[in-house]
Structure formats: C-alpha cells, structure tokens
C-alpha cells in the first residue's frame, strides 16, 4: 500500500455528512410499529396462557365438586327414600352415576350370550349404597360359605378388567329360594345373592344362567368383591328394578340396623393442595423513586404508572389460618416520571463535564449549573418488568356463607427485574423558576446572653417546614430546614 492509498484511506474513513432528519423519523416510526406488533403478540399469548391456567383450575375444582355432589345426592336418595321411610324404593330410571356395567366372567364365555338374555351387572363405585354394606357384612360374617365369596370375587375381577357393557352369559340368581324377593328389600336381595352364590358354586355356569329369575326378571344383580368379610364395596341395581314394598324391619332376613344404614359414608376428600391464578391491572400515581434519581424533597415527586400483573400460586391448606403458598409473579408496567437533570449543550446526557459522577455538594459548589450545563427537566418513560418468586401464607379471616375474606401475607423476591428506558423528552422549565405564595411554618428557640443593659448575644436555631400553596411549580416541594444563626440584639 503506497502513500496515496494510505492518505486516501485515512481521509475517507472518518468523514461525516449530515444525515437528513427524516431518516430518524422513519426509523422511530418503524421501531414503534415493531413494538406495537410485539406487544400485541405478548398480550395475546399472555391472555391465552392465563385463560388456560384459570380454565384448568376451574375444571379441576369443578370436577372435585361434581364428584362430591354425586355422592351426596346418592346418599340423600338412599337415606330419605329407602331407609328413613322404610320404603326402599330405588328409582332405577335414573342412571346411576359412574355406573359400570359388568358381567360375570366366571363363565369364561364373554360373547356367548344374546343381549336380551343377558342380565347385565352394573356396578357402581358409589359409596351411597354402602348403607347396605353393613348388612352384607353381617351376612358375610354369618355366612362363611366360600362359594359366595367366589361369586363376588369373580364379579370383582370383571370390574378390575373394566370390561364394561359386554353382555355375557348371565348368572341369574333365584332369590325366591332364599328370601322373599317380592319384599324388595335390598338387603334381602344381597342376602339372596350370597346364598345363591353359595348354591351355584359348583354348578355349570350355563345351567345356572337358565335358572335364577327374580319374579319377572327385573332384578339383575349386585355386589362387589368380597375377598374378606369387610370388603363388600359395591351394590348395584339395574334398570327397571323397582322394589316398592316396605321393609319389614322385624324380618329376620332384614337384620339391618337403620342407624347403621343411615350412616353416610364419608365424603370423598378433595386434595388440600390448591392453585391460584390471577391477572390484574395495576395503577398508581405516587411512589418514591430510588434516591439515585432524585434526592431531597423531590425524591417524593409523584409519577404515574400503569401496567399488568400476573400471578400463579400453589398452596396447601392445613387449616383456615395456615395455608402456605408458593408462586411466581410477573409484573409489567409503564412508568412516567419527570426528573431534573444536568443537560449539556451537546444534547447528550452525561454524568458531568468529565464523564464522572458528581455528588450533590459538588454540583452546589460549582458553576456547572450556570455555565456549560443547563438544568432541565427530563420526562422519562420506563418499562419496568419483574419476575419474582413469592412465598407466604394465606389466612381466611372471615367466611360468611359463600363469601370469604382471605388475608395474604407474602414475601416476594425478584428473580429478574428490568427497567427499560423507552423515551426521554426535555421539558422547558424556565417558566417555573419563579414562584410565589409559598408558606412556611417556623419553630425557633432563642438562646440569649445578656452582655450589658443594651446588648444581648443570641443563638437562634430555627426549624422550618415549608408547604406549597401554589402547586403549579415543578420544582418546589415540601421540605424541612434547620437554620442555626448567631446574632446580637441592641436595645436603643
């Protein structure tokens, strides 16, 4: 590379040419548009995510409540209509919830029977009919016949297989042989099943299928496994079962204790874990900013802020006062604040003339304010985002029927917090520098020392608190001041 090349390269490398103003305007527009697009996507996905979370939580709790409700309804039905009235009328027109139609697989011939011949076994894991379990247990206790157990166990196997709704070679139980089925007592019915099971144990399944008919054959079958005497869990009644005859409580076949029967099985307990998702709009107009930005009275200058808050928490309920929670919080807000700043004549914000941070005292004592640097107000707009981890406790302080009041005490630790400066505009404050109608409250002590009959030496500490009357000025704020003066009083 010769001299010519070097001179040429050096000269042209650092040249400058004034850029047309429209270039930045266009860039700014494009950036703003891009931001808008991004924020639309952000909110769209944010809202969708929140909806999914909230929907999931609602579905979760709704399922829990429905299950519980189903149990309650069943219990109510049994208690009110069958037991307490001593008229065990089972309305089988209503489909039993969670019912699983099963068949007796002891025949090992699942497909051999026509549907109209089949007596389907419907089993319900409902605890509602457990009222009858007691009697079953009683029966089982006295009836130690193993074949009955086998019968029950085989039914149970079917349930395990979840092979529902397959009409299979049915086993019909001739309840007439053991009990008066026309009485329609469900317990008698169970009794009959157990007894029948006992009788049928060694018979050919196909033969037995032609046997047991309960009157008009409406009654189908019941019962869950009975691996032990305490294991009877299910009892089931098929459609068209209508046992309307009142129960003869004194009947030896009906050795049920009504109190035992009316004993409502415990509710299916919901998990004590809970999830809470919240989304909200945040707005506040007053805040104390970091002293890095402003100091003194003006650190309390108000600024506007608005934004959104998203929160997801999971907790465990020990009792109403102790529900520890753990969650995440996402907060995004736009803050607008007007600062006063040193602004140099290049139009760039700098720390000071030497690029160093100045302390307040240095500013007060130098001529920066009146010479090269001009004091201006800067209106700044920030976007503040934070993701935080939240731990705390939720307390239920009041519960009036369905309405409750919880008090949450939480500690939040920022995992990531970001303040982004979006825009800064210079505000001309020259119109605000002259103020009037400021008021002050002064409280002073006057220590004096008599020198002679004409002269007194004074020490005068005074405390001043200033309040603004004219609120229009940007700079004037409330402030506290302590002045200690020394003086002399002359009596003329």
């Amino acid at each position: 590379m010769d001299d010519f090349d070097k001179i040429l390269g050096k000269s042209l490398k650092d040249g400058r040419r004034e850029t047309p103003a429209f270039v930045w305007d266009n860039i700014e527009k494009e950036i703003a548009l891009e931001k808008k697009r991004r924020s639309v996507f952000f909110w769209l996905f944010g809202c969708l995510g929140s909806l999914v979370l909230i929907g999931g939580a609602i579905a979760y709790f709704a399922n829990g409540l429905n299950s519980d409700k189903g149990v309650s309804e069943q219990n109510q039905k049994i208690n009110s209509h069958e037991i307490l009235n001593n008229q065990p009328k089972i309305n089988t027109d209503t489909e039993v919830e969670d019912g699983v139609t099963i068949t007796d697989t002891s025949t090992n011939n699942l497909n051999s029977t026509k549907g109209d011949e089949a007596n389907q076994f419907k089993m319900t894991p409902s605890a509602s009919i457990q009222s009858a379990d007691e009697s079953v247990n009683n029966l089982s206790a006295s009836n130690t016949n193993t074949s009955a157990r086998k019968e029950l166990a085989s039914i149970n196997q079917v349930e395990d297989k979840q092979d529902s709704n397959l009409p299979v070679n049915p086993r019909k139980f001739d309840l007439h042989t053991d009990t008066d089925a026309s009485q329609g007592d469900i317990n008698s019915f169970i009794n009959a099943v157990l007894s029948k099971g006992n009788n049928d144990a060694n018979k050919d399944p196909n033969q037995t299928s032609s046997e047991g008919n309960l009157g008009d054959g409406n009654i189908i079958n019941t019962i869950d496994s009975a691996k032990t005497n305490q294991d009877v869990e299910f009892i089931h009644v098929e459609k068209n079962l209508d046992i309307t005859t009142p129960v003869d409580k004194d009947s030896p076949a009906n050795n049920n204790d009504p109190e035992k029967i009316t004993k409502v099985p415990e509710k299916r307990e919901l998990s004590k874990f809970f999830i809470e998702a919240k989304a909200g709009y945040s707005i506040y107009k007053m805040s104390v900013w970091d002293e890095t930005f402003t100091v003194g009275a003006l650190s309390k200058r108000p600024f506007k802020s608005r934004g959104y808050n998203f929160n997801v928490e999971a907790g465990y309920e020990f009792n109403r006062w102790l529900k520890p929670i753990l969650g995440f919080n996402y907060n995004i807000k736009n803050a607008e604040f007007t600062y006063s700043a040193l602004y140099d004549d290049h139009g760039w914000l700098t720390r000071n003339i030497n690029g160093q941070i100045l302390s307040i005292d240095e500013i007060n004592d130098t001529d920066y304010l009146c010479n090269k640097h001009v004091l201006t107000d800067i209106n700044s707009q920030f976007q503040i985002t934070s993701v935080s981890l939240t731990v705390g406790n939720k307390m239920n302080v009041m519960q009036l029927g369905k309405f409750g009041l919880d008090l949450d005490l939480k500690y939040s630790l920022d995992i990531n917090s970001k303040t982004r400066l979006d825009q800064m505009t210079q505000v001309d404050v020259s119109n605000y520098l002259t103020t009037s109608l400021n008021s002050r409250f002064v409280c002073a002590l006057n220590f004096n020392l008599i020198m002679n009959n004409r002269l007194k030496l004074l020490l005068y500490p005074e405390y001043i608190q200033r309040k603004n009357i004219a609120r229009r000025e940007l700079y004037q704020g409330n402030y506290h001041e302590l002045i200690v003066s020394a003086g002399l009083r002359i009596t003329i």
Binding site: R17, V23, G296, L369, I378, S380, Y479
Partner: protein
C-alpha cells in the same frame, strides 16, 4: 460565577445519575434489551459517520439515506448479537457496507465490477495530494471517488478505505482474488486520473481567475 445553592433553592438538590448515560452504556443497554432511548443515542452518535460511508458507495443522496435507514432498523433488531460494545463500531460499519452492497446488487450495479472495459491503464500516473487541510483533502478525494464508476468505487472503498483483503473482497463480491487485484489497479489509475484532471482544472481556475 458560582451558583451557590441554598436549601431554599430546590434546584440545587436535583441530580440525575442513572439516566446520564455514556455512549458505551447506551450500547450496552441496547445489547441487553432493545431500548429506543439508548438506541437514539447511538444513532445520533453514528448516523453522520455512517451516512458518509453510504455516500461513498451510493452516489445518490436519497438512496443513501434509504439504505442508512434500513441499516439502522436492522441494527436495532440485531444489536443483541454484538458481543462486545467495544467492537460495535466495526460491526456497524460492516453492516452498513453490506447494506450498500445489497442495494447496488439489487440495482444490478455489481456487474460493472466484473467488466474490464472501462479503463485501459495508460502508463504510470502519479498525483501529488496536498495534505494541508484534511477537510479540503477529504472533500477532494470524496468528490473524485464519486466520479468513479460504481464497480471501481466499490473496489476502492473496500480495498483502500475499509482495508479488506483481496480474499475478503473476492468472497463478498463473488469474484476471483486476481480479478479483485486487477480491478483495484485500474480503479486506482482511474482515480488518479480524475484527481489530476481536478488539479489541472484548479490550477487553470487560479491562473485564469
């Protein structure tokens, strides 16, 4: 003159620290996250310099401004990829140059680079550059470069101003290294010729008034 602030003058207690940012801080801020205020700072610092770069490649001022605009929008989106704020200027310059090249390619100007019909080397031409006033010299050289055909202007800018190697030039333009070398020789000769013509004209103007 000293402005002694008293406690009754709240002006004295106003101080801004975090917002008083330097260029490096602005670049760092922008690298961390797109920040339009800091980006404006960067733009205002570099725009004139980069506009000059654009004008060295693209003669038309309006086209150069468009290219600059596109380039800075790209900078805003890609600034996060800058690993070290200290290397930002080099990165920016490279991006601007590529944008200019794209623009010229789009206009089909690149073809000129590959044609060797423009100038025949007419012996060894030498030119004396007056290095008195750097601004004047810069203006003379800039105007001479502006008069070069697009292809030669690119090769002169690449080789002599940006100081790319012939291999880099060959890669960027999709030509052979030997072509790059020969084009540079021709471009340099052409440039000197233009400068001589300019000098002659200047002498004539000063002589004849």
């Amino acid at each position: 003159m000293k402005h002694r602030a008293s406690s009754t003058n709240p002006l004295s207690v106003l101080y801004l620290n975090r917002l008083l940012i330097t260029l490096n801080q602005a670049i760092s801020e922008c690298i961390k996250a797109a920040n339009s205020a800091a980006f404006k700072h960067i733009y205002q610092h570099y725009s004139d310099k980069m506009f000059y770069v654009c004008l060295r490649y693209i003669r038309n001022e309006s086209d150069a401004a468009d290219v600059l605009q596109d380039a800075f929008i790209q900078v805003y989106h890609k600034i996060e990829t800058v690993k070290d704020p200290a290397s930002f200027e080099g990165w920016l310059r490279r991006l601007i140059v590529n944008k200019c090249l794209d623009f010229l390619r789009a206009k089909g100007k690149k073809q000129e680079i590959l044609s060797e019909k423009d100038v025949a080397i007419e012996g060894h031409t030498d030119v004396e550059l007056d290095q008195g006033d750097p601004e004047v010299l810069r203006e003379i050289l800039f105007s001479a470069i502006q008069k070069l055909p697009e292809g030669y202007r690119i090769i002169v800018n690449f080789a002599l101003v940006e100081e790319y190697s012939h291999k880099e030039i060959a890669d960027m333009l999709g030509i052979k290294e030997s072509t790059s070398r020969s084009q540079l020789v021709r471009a340099r000769a052409q440039l000197k010729k233009i400068l001589l013509t300019q000098q002659d004209q200047k002498i004539k103007e000063s002589y004849y008034g």
